[in-house]
């Protein structure tokens, strides 16, 4: 780990005395139940129309040889996050101890530069209406559940993961479960060619959902209809 090329001064992977949180998503264990997505919605009072984590799927093959693959998605909490570089007002920043990429809502001017810079579509603009939280009309994203993790808890999506597909921990600690999984399995990350050093590692992710950069997230026809509906009706 430490021998990896360090390209950014804020990288904390392998830094002595520092935590570096990471998530391992073992897709062999993902049943596509959507519990993570809903638990996250509840944890943050996330409004309809936007998500901090989501679970796209793809049906591959031709009848009768057909499989269904899920690829849980969230912010990759990159070690070299393009969103941080793109933010003109330093609303987006990285926490050195832990590696969280966070957002300061009071500084965000809503310019969406970070959204454009993120190669993972992990950021979104909050709409004007929420159930009980006052923060609206600024950019929001997954925080790796900073508030829970710093209290000794796993993120909400990991907490509820039925298949235990999502595992969270300190990858700088060689005795942690995430270190064990990354060491003993073939893992992949999304869009490695972007040089972002993502910290969400996938085990057995399907090629049809992972490769070709952005095209990998192309949605099926029904989702196209959904997107047209979304564009027609959602006012953010």
């Amino acid at each position: 780990m430490s021998e990896e090329l360090r390209t950014s001064p804020i990288e904390t992977r392998g830094l002595a005395g520092k935590k570096r949180y990471a998530m391992v998503v073992d897709t062999r264990r993902c049943i596509g139940c959507m519990a993570c997505q809903v638990a996250c919605k509840a944890e943050y009072d996330t409004p309809l129309g936007v998500n901090r984590t989501w679970v796209p799927y793809k049906v591959v093959g031709t009848y009768p040889n057909v499989k269904k693959h899920f690829l849980p998605r969230l912010c990759n909490h990159c070690d070299d996050p393009p969103c941080v570089r793109a933010c003109p007002v330093e609303a987006t920043y990285k926490v050195e101890d832990g590696g969280f990429v966070l957002q300061r809502y009071e500084r965000c001017i809503g310019c969406r530069s970070c959204m454009a810079a993120c190669p993972y579509n992990a950021r979104f603009m909050l709409p004007a209406h929420r159930t009980y939280t006052a923060i609206t009309s600024v950019v929001d994203k997954c925080t790796f559940c900073f508030h829970r993790v710093t209290q000794g808890l796993v993120p909400a999506c990991v907490q509820t993961c039925i298949g235990r597909s999502r595992v969270f921990g300190d990858i700088n600690d060689p005795t942690s479960e995430v270190s064990y999984l990354v060491a003993t399995n073939a893992t992949q990350v999304l869009r490695p060619e972007q040089g972002t050093k993502p910290h969400v590692f996938y085990i057995a992710g399907d090629r049809s959902q992972m490769e070709f950069g952005r095209d990998a997230y192309q949605r099926r026809e029904v989702m196209d209809q959904e997107r047209r509906m979304f564009e027609r009706n959602f006012k953010a």
């Binding site: 139940c33 269904k68 920043y93 050195e96 709409p127 209406h129 029904v222």
Partner: protein
């Protein structure tokens, strides 16, 4: 763990930049993994949220849960980490259960109908007025005949309150919903080995045959069993093979998906058994010791069920059947799971029985990694208990279905219309037959609008569902987060007792069911002179729970109800290990389940005064308590003879084949080239009818285009999104197509839970309206971005009743699918009452009293006919 208390100020300091964060953040370095749950904090203020242990009840899996409360409101739900089955995790539905309570369209005070039935005109009344009016109607009905008071419930987890109410009134007219749910699975299993469900030990198995269950999305017991399936696959290298007509998430997850023609799973199962027996791969010792047949009898019986025979019927190649049979028989341990696939057909009970034979003949019963008996726990009822009805009810024990111990509720509208039983007062509780049953609005809607057939309808409901919208009076019940209820469910290999307790006071004027029923009884019998009040002798709902739980051995010593209030569940088997997600004992090792329940030996006290008959059955006081085998006295299986009854003699009395068999659905054999089978299914984020108003779930899935195979779609000339017309013998609908490789080419599949015309503004997409019954608006509903609510298929699905198990044949409907015509509009649905009545008459011909029964059972030619069986009122309420 760090003791550092977070205040808003320290939090702001933490987020003020990387250097500041490093300085002010609590020490992050810990040798241990982060905890998997049990507490929660607000992401903005870091205030710790109050944790109240409860039992989830969005669906009926009954996971242990924790409700986190902030500012008097539940903001988060998590699995209870102390719960041995749930292990801290909840599904998408469980995570969003607070929206039952906070739904802006919840009914928060009693309502009385003022317009015509279903016109939607309501008047707010007081509880006193409401109870007085219902009591008056009950009084009049009681004078005529208590059985004219009917209770039909959907999901009843009151722990006996509804039964107590009906027994207090002296009515036997209690009808459940099980025949549209899983009844033929239960009836396939119960006479064979006792209980109505199995507990496959997925975590420790090497091979899973999953026949027609979508366990990773729905079915008993979705969350706990899904956890063990992923564990088995990755930690134990098991193989899972799924037979299904459709690529469900379970089929898509499986190592192999094997598509079958609907209703032919039973034939495949018999052929698998044939190969196992033909190649001598069975467990002969198990069969000869623990069943009521011998290996030789079984081999002779299975002789004709060849893979070639099954291949022709099911479309599964014979070579595949042979390969799977060998894999299953040689993998030890192996297990099996089934759900709606085999059971929801005309002869669903036969199908289930054929499937169940596979773990039996391979001796995978009650072994580690095998097919185990369910583990449950009970609790006593508060005394005194009411004596119950004097006369049987036709509707709850229909004489034409004597073996259907879980009733035949979906035929009830036709029986009421035929005048089989008069109803004066109809109570509905957590039910929505107008939406969920075959025929839906065309059948139950017609019944509910008919004031002659149902003169007075009382709905105990928190939501304006399709059925409640047709009621005369609505008593606002509480959603599960505001109720006290006892709970136990065999959803893992460890038995437990649990509790639901209110997370806060009931909202508005709503009252939980046991309280509103008590209030009603007190209204009927204010001074106790009628003898009713004595059975409703509790201070409040908590006191009722105390009477259930304070005297359960073991729990009593642990603290009784107080223990449950604090922990939500008893016993606590160990601690959840954050490194593995498994429950560990004091030594840090994973807890072990107990296996081989049938091999438990009877003690000397059990044997005192017991007699052993020729066949080895050990009886005491006229009841079989065990079975003598190889010189030992074993407990055996919970059946009448303590054995597994491969041959069910009771079935033969009614002219049914007592041995494992398969009957092809006659109208499937005569299908035309352009006809298809319509099947229905549930998605992972919805249950049958009560989740459409839950915004987070509706956002994920809000419409239900019809799944059509790509080749079929090509023949029809339709693409995804095109309109198709689906026509059955009772009606037609127009919906959108979803073209996929993941479905059998002769099948069109439409999910349930969509296309609501009631159930509040979100479900029916009438968001321009305002909350009408006292609820508080949710600003987030401004963000609803979808404008397609789907099309509900039930009006075009005719009734079919399994003559044995009573189950609805959901997957038996033959339809013609075409491109929609110029006059077809999306959402058109038409079901014809007269044609539904014809379908009802047709299905009654298959009952043991009907003319088709003999034709379908040539092998039972020696049966002396229905007159030979003494009329017997059907089974009780399991």
């Amino acid at each position: 763990m760090s003791d550092t208390k977070f205040t808003r100020r320290t939090f702001l300091k933490v987020s003020a930049g990387t250097t500041a964060a490093a300085a002010a953040a609590p020490r992050l370095l810990q040798a241990m993994e982060n905890e998997l749950g049990g507490k929660d904090v607000n992401p903005v203020t870091l205030a710790e949220r109050k944790a109240i242990p409860i039992n989830c009840h969005v669906c009926n899996i009954q996971d242990g849960a924790i409700a986190f409360v902030e500012n008097g409101r539940v903001v988060k739900l998590e699995g209870n980490p102390e719960h041995v089955s749930t292990r801290g995790r909840l599904c998408a539905k469980g995570n969003s259960g607070m929206w039952y309570s906070y739904d802006p369209d919840r009914i928060l005070y009693p309502l009385k109908r003022v317009g015509a039935r279903g016109e939607g005109k309501w008047k707010r009344i007081t509880w006193d007025e409401a109870l007085a009016e219902v009591a008056k109607k009950l009084d009049a009905a009681l004078k005529e005949d208590p059985n004219t008071i009917m209770m039909k419930y959907g999901r009843n987890r009151t722990g006996g309150t509804l039964d107590r109410f009906m027994k207090t009134l002296g009515s036997a007219t209690v009808v459940n919903h099980t025949s549209v749910c899983e009844s033929s699975k239960k009836i396939g299993m119960e006479p064979t080995w006792g209980p109505d469900i199995e507990t496959p030990d997925f975590a420790n198995t090497k091979y899973v045959l999953n026949i027609g269950s979508n366990i990773l999305e729905a079915a008993y017991f979705h969350n706990p069993l899904s956890q063990r399936i992923t564990e088995g696959r990755v930690d134990n290298q098991m193989k899972i093979v799924t037979f299904d007509v459709r690529l469900s998430n379970t089929a898509g997850f499986s190592d192999e998906w094997i598509p079958v023609f609907p209703g032919t799973d039973g034939a495949v199962a018999l052929a698998l058994g044939h190969v196992i027996l033909r190649e001598d791969l069975q467990d002969s010792e198990f069969i000869n010791t623990w069943t009521n047949v011998t290996v030789d009898e079984l081999k002779a019986h299975y002789k004709d069920f060849t893979p070639e025979w099954a291949a022709k019927i099911s479309g599964v190649p014979a070579a595949t059947i042979e390969r799977i049979a060998r894999e299953f028989a040689l993998a030890k341990p192996a297990t099996l799971f089934t759900y709606r696939g085999p059971a929801k057909h005309l002869y669903g009970s036969y199908n289930e029985k054929a499937c169940m034979m596979l773990p039996i003949m391979t001796g995978n019963i009650e072994t580690r990694g095998g097919y185990c008996l369910p583990r449950g726990m009970g609790w006593p009822q508060p005394g005194p208990t009411p004596p119950g009805a004097k006369h049987a009810s036709y509707l709850s024990t229909p004489p034409d279905y004597p073996l259907a111990g879980h009733k035949v509720s979906h035929l009830v509208p036709f029986w009421i219309a035929e005048g089989k039983q008069k109803i004066n007062v109809y109570f509905t509780y957590q039910d929505n037959a107008v939406y969920t049953n075959p025929g839906a609005q065309a059948v139950w809607g017609k019944l509910f609008r008919d004031e002659k057939l149902l003169p007075y309808i009382v709905s105990m409901s928190s939501h304006m569902g399709e059925e409640t919208a047709l009621a005369d009076i609505i008593l606002p019940d509480c959603p599960y987060l505001e109720r006290w209820e006892p709970e136990s469910m065999p959803n893992s290999l460890w038995p437990w007792l649990g509790i639901r307790q209110p997370v806060h006071a009931s909202l508005g004027e709503s009252r939980e069911n046991r309280i509103l029923l008590r209030d009603l009884v007190h209204k009927l019998d204010p001074d106790g002179k009628r003898g009713m009040k004595q059975y409703w002798n509790f201070k409040d709902a908590e006191d009722y729970m105390r009477q259930h739980f304070d005297n359960v051995p073991g729990l009593k010593e642990a603290g009784g109800l107080d223990f449950l209030k604090k922990h939500g569940v008893w016993p606590i088997y160990g601690k959840l290990d954050p490194k593995t997600g498994k429950v560990t004992d004091k030594t840090g090792r994973e807890i072990k389940a107990e296996y081989g329940l049938h091999k438990k030996e009877l003690g000397t006290a059990d044997m005192a005064g017991a007699v052993v008959d020729k066949s080895g059955v050990i009886s005491k006081n006229g009841k079989a308590i065990g079975i003598k085998r190889n010189g030992r006295n074993y407990a055996g299986f919970p059946t009448g003879n303590r054995l597994i009854n491969v041959r069910v003699d009771e079935w033969a009395q009614y002219g049914f084949n007592p041995m494992p068999t398969f009957k092809r659905i006659p109208w499937h054999e005569t299908m035309k080239e352009d006809e298809m089978i319509l099947t229905t299914f549930k998605l992972n984020v919805h249950k049958q009818s009560r989740t459409a108003a839950v915004k987070w779930l509706a956002e994920i899935a809000h419409s239900n285009p019809a799944w059509i195979n790509a080749q079929t779609a090509k023949r029809l000339g339709v693409k995804t999104g095109d309109l198709v017309r689906v026509e059955s013998k009772v009606g037609h609908l127009v919906t959108k197509a979803y073209v996929t490789e993941g479905i059998q080419p002769k099948v069109i599949a439409i999910a349930t839970a969509f296309g609501h015309w009631e159930y509040g503004r979100l479900a029916s997409l009438r968001l321009k309206d305002k909350p009408a019954f006292g609820g508080q608006e949710d600003p987030d509903l401004n963000n609803v971005w979808w404008d397609d609510k789907g099309v509900h298929p039930n009006a075009i699905i005719p009734v079919v009743a399994d003559p044995i198990g009573g189950s609805q044949g959901w997957m038996d409907t033959v339809v013609k699918v075409t491109r929609a015509g110029p006059n077809d509009k999306y959402g058109d649905i038409q079901g014809n009452w007269e044609k539904h009545v014809e379908a009802y008459k047709e299905t009654m011909r298959y009952a043991y009293t009907g003319d088709m029964h003999r034709k379908m059972h040539p092998e039972m030619a020696s049966w002396a006919g229905p007159a030979s069986v003494k009329p017997k009122s059907g089974g009780g309420g399991h």
